[in-house]
């Protein structure tokens, strides 16, 4: 006879250690240094509604309107309580539309003296007594609610739902993200504790995790951390942690927030105004200065990279090379992104690559001589091959951190076998991009998965 020992998990004070055995760390040259430069205020800042997934933006301002820091620029049509606020005080100078009138950017020219929308301050004591509803309303009103997101779709959390848990990731593994130890330290610890207390008003279970290689961070936040997760990229992803620790299907709707965003949320509540400062990294082999920069939320990319890139045709990848999008050179950085990686565009067709050992060809496989040395290499934006049919090499399944079988799942998506691809775990996809990265047939796996998740979600809500 077995006796079930059923301890409530949050009462166990021991930290859980998890190992992510799959995934892959890119051998990418151009890592940022730990130097931190504080930049002066840029001329303009912007918000990018196009880059917020799963919302239908409705403008609340027009060109010429004066705005304060923290005044609402646009809202989500599907839930108008979710507003997106201005990261700067000044005047709306431009609203950039893309094809089919998608709103690309709302650009604000900064005044020399910016004014702030003022919100009530919430002291630590008041936080203890505040009702969940009151707190939710404050976060919604202040425009910091969009930092809380919901798995599996990674859309903005539904304010009316109490999540099974909230995960706080104090980590950034993707090439390249800011070193979390530069903004999570003894100085900001009280703020993080305050933020975690706020999150505890939203959910009974708040999980805090990081990578054990951040030893200082682990020491500082020893009392707060509930999990460490080691291993290759994307071990930092909340979806990967959830995949390792979940026991029941209802845990799939867990919320998450990143460490830097939690600081924003805590600052907003404790200071009563919308924080506009952000820590970014500028990296990539074509970036002239690779470093951490402190600047404004929504700053122009050109302002962040400081000097002209070192190659004639640069590409600005905003938000990491695997998940990030291609930014316009004269564009701005979005709400969630914390990095600008400058890569050289592919321009040349190399002669007889096929017959070369390839000492400088980055690859996860062992088919180039570069796999012996393992040093970081320059990568450009070439897809590095012709598009072919799937040859079932299985590399995508080897790297998938949540054990989806990407090549099988793709086939069931193409066959529109909804039950089948859901059973494969399509919704668990953490959108890390590794399957598309390793595919020798150059199949756009992750893009198809993201789109299928989006379409499936659309079908569910309508």
């Amino acid at each position: 006879m077995t006796v079930a020992l059923n301890f409530p998990r949050q009462h166990l004070k021991r930290m859980k250690i998890i190992q992510n055995r799959k995934g892959y760390d890119l051998k990418l040259q151009g890592a940022p240094s730990d130097d931190l430069v504080s930049l002066s205020a840029p001329a303009t800042v912007a918000v990018l509604p196009e880059r917020i997934p799963y919302i239908k933006p409705r403008l609340r301002v027009k060109v010429g309107d004066p705005v304060q820091v923290g005044s609402v620029l646009y809202e989500d049509k599907t839930d108008p309580r979710v507003g997106f606020v201005s990261p700067g005080g000044g005047k709306v100078v431009d609203i950039v539309f893309g094809p089919r009138r998608v709103i690309r950017e709302i650009v604000i020219q900064l005044d020399s003296e910016e004014t702030y929308a003022i919100f009530p301050i919430l002291t630590a004591d008041e936080l203890e007594g505040i009702s969940r509803e009151d707190l939710v309303n404050r976060l919604l009103a202040g425009g910091v609610w969009p930092y809380l997101r919901e798995l599996p779709y990674r859309k903005i959390a539904d304010p009316d739902v109490e999540p099974p848990a909230i995960m706080v990731g104090l980590d950034g593994r993707e090439p390249f993200q800011p070193n979390p130890e530069s903004y999570l330290n003894d100085e900001t610890r009280p703020l993080i504790q305050y933020g975690l207390n706020a999150l505890k008003r939203l959910s009974d279970k708040v999980l805090v995790y990081t990578d054990p290689r951040f030893s200082n961070l682990c020491r500082t936040f020893k009392a707060e951390l509930t999990h460490t997760i080691a291993g290759h990229y994307p071990a930092d992803d909340p979806g990967v942690l959830l995949y390792h620790i979940r026991r029941r299907p209802d845990e799939n709707r867990t919320w998450f927030i990143h460490g830097q965003d939690l600081l924003v949320l805590a600052r907003f509540l404790s200071e009563g105004r919308y924080p506009t400062e952000r820590l970014y990294v500028v990296a990539g082999s074509a970036a002239a200065e690779r470093q951490h920069v402190r600047s404004r939320l929504g700053a122009p990319l050109q302002h962040l990279v400081l000097s002209a890139p070192t190659c004639p045709e640069p590409r600005y990848v905003v938000g990491g090379v695997l998940r990030g999008y291609t930014g316009e050179p004269n564009g701005h950085i979005g709400l969630y992104e914390t990095s600008v990686v400058v890569l050289p565009e592919a321009t040349e067709r190399e002669f007889v690559t096929l017959f070369r050992p390839g000492f400088n060809k980055p690859t996860r496989s062992r088919t180039f001589a570069s796999s012996i040395k393992g040093a970081p290499m320059i990568m450009d934006t070439n897809i590095n091959g012709g598009r072919r049919a799937c040859i079932a090499c299985g590399y995508c399944s080897d790297v998938c951190p949540v054990d989806i079988l990407p090549q099988m799942t793709l086939k069931s998506i193409l066959a529109e076998e909804v039950e089948e691809y859901l059973a494969h775990g399509l919704l668990d996809c953490v959108e890390c991009g590794l399957c598309s990265y390793v595919c020798p047939s150059k199949i756009e796996l992750v893009e198809t998965f993201c789109q299928t998740k989006f379409d499936y979600h659309k079908e569910q809500v309508s």
Partner: protein, 394 residues
């Protein structure tokens, strides 16, 4: 400017849409990308991609097969000259071998490309590099005496029926090279089996010289009279284990050498382009089945049952097929776990067909084709088991 680049740039207008030979674009692309890495920028995430592409993947398999081709040329030339009673000096042997083997290889590639270009043009896709490998494998499995028109017919069947009618590379469930080989075997048994197809007569000779044994080790093994061991019967004909290991006996062009197959297996496993699970499963399947047959063999039973297990990997094309044919990623199992089972069953069936079916001296090709048919089911079972273990997310 690079002269090769200039050559391709000169051709390009003719094969582009509107050009005189626009239908040959797929062929042009296929050859041009051998010389110049393709250039296409990422438009979707992720912004960077791995350097490996299908062309390099398949090209490396060809690299592993080149030693087999060279050995096959030498071996075919050697036994042709020996059977015809000519000198066995290296240079004439190689020349004879080239004269015998290269036409088969060239015919295979020309006919194979013809079908692939035809289907690629109609379906408007690029030529998949799997074709290069199929066309290299197929002649290596043939007897050196195969008439060229049969070579052409065989590869046509393999490419069209074995692959293209299912939608082309990636969608076929049978190994195209083996399909081609099996087709020829059943369609033209006279010119593809028996003892007289493995050594070609050259230089005007009309029959094998006296004392020349054209029998392959497999046919010796199957025909060993009771009361004698197969090992002794082989030894009596000069087939020592070492000779068998290196493949110096009449047989298919490149498939006789276990030594080169092992080197090829190591090469492909180290580079990660062949599944070690399948190969090891296959070797285990052969050995385990042969041990089992040794175990059940009584004094009355035929000598083939008592053959030392490792001999099954030395004679015939089993080593070659287990290394190069089972590991075709498309027609093999796609899931990792069942690769063991797939490999094992290929090995098991090979030995059973060899020993118990007098109609087929070699069983490995049929065993693999038979197991290919089960692979979708094996994959299905493993996927079912894996998805059942998942916490559902719907």
């Amino acid at each position: 400017m690079n002269p090769v680049r200039r050559f391709f740039d000169g051709l390009h207008p003719h094969v582009s849409p509107g050009g005189k030979y626009e239908k040959l674009y797929a062929f042009y692309e296929s050859i041009e990308t051998v010389f110049f890495a393709p250039l296409e920028r990422t438009r979707r995430l992720p912004a960077v991609r791995d350097s490996l592409d299908v062309k390099r993947y398949m090209f490396l398999v060809i690299v592993a097969l080149i030693p087999h081709l060279c050995f096959g040329i030498y071996n075919a030339g050697y036994f042709a000259r020996m059977a015809s009673g000519l000198s066995l000096a290296p240079v004439p042997v190689v020349l004879t071998g080239l004269w015998l083997v290269m036409p088969m290889v060239i015919v295979t590639y020309v006919v194979g490309f013809f079908w692939e270009i035809l289907f690629a043009t109609i379906r408007k896709h690029e030529i998949s590099e799997g074709l290069f490998v199929t066309c290299m494998l197929f002649p290596l499995t043939l007897p050196p005496a195969t008439p060229l028109w049969q070579v052409a017919l065989g590869i046509s069947f393999g490419i069209v029926i074995g692959k293209e009618i299912f939608g082309g590379t990636g969608r076929n469930f049978l190994n195209p090279a083996l399909t081609a080989r099996a087709f020829l075997y059943f369609a033209y048994p006279v010119s593809l089996s028996g003892d007289n197809v493995w050594s070609v007569l050259v230089g005007g000779a009309e029959r094998y010289v006296d004392g020349y044994t054209a029998a392959t080790p497999l046919s010796v093994a199957a025909a060993t009279p009771d009361g004698q061991t197969v090992e002794a019967a082989l030894e009596a004909l000069g087939y020592s284990p070492l000779e068998l290991f290196f493949g110096f006996y009449p047989g298919s062009v490149g498939g006789t050498t276990t030594f080169l197959s092992i080197l090829g297996a190591i090469f492909m496993i180290v580079l990660g382009i062949a599944s070690w699970r399948t190969i090891l499963g296959g070797v285990l399947g052969v050995l385990a089945t042969a041990y089992f047959l040794n175990f059940i063999a009584g004094p009355e039973s035929m000598p083939f049952l008592s053959l030392k297990p490792y001999y099954h990997l030395l004679i015939g094309g089993s080593a070659f097929a287990l290394v190069y044919m089972t590991t075709d990623p498309v027609s093999g199992t796609h899931m990792k776990g069942v690769k063991w089972f797939y490999g094992f069953m290929c090995g098991l069936l090979t030995v059973l067909i060899r020993v118990f079916n007098p109609a087929f001296p070699e069983g490995v090709g049929l065993a693999i084709l038979f197991m290919n048919c089960f692979n979708p089911l094996l994959d299905y079972i493993e996927i079912k088991i894996r998805t059942r273990r998942r916490v559902p997310n719907v």
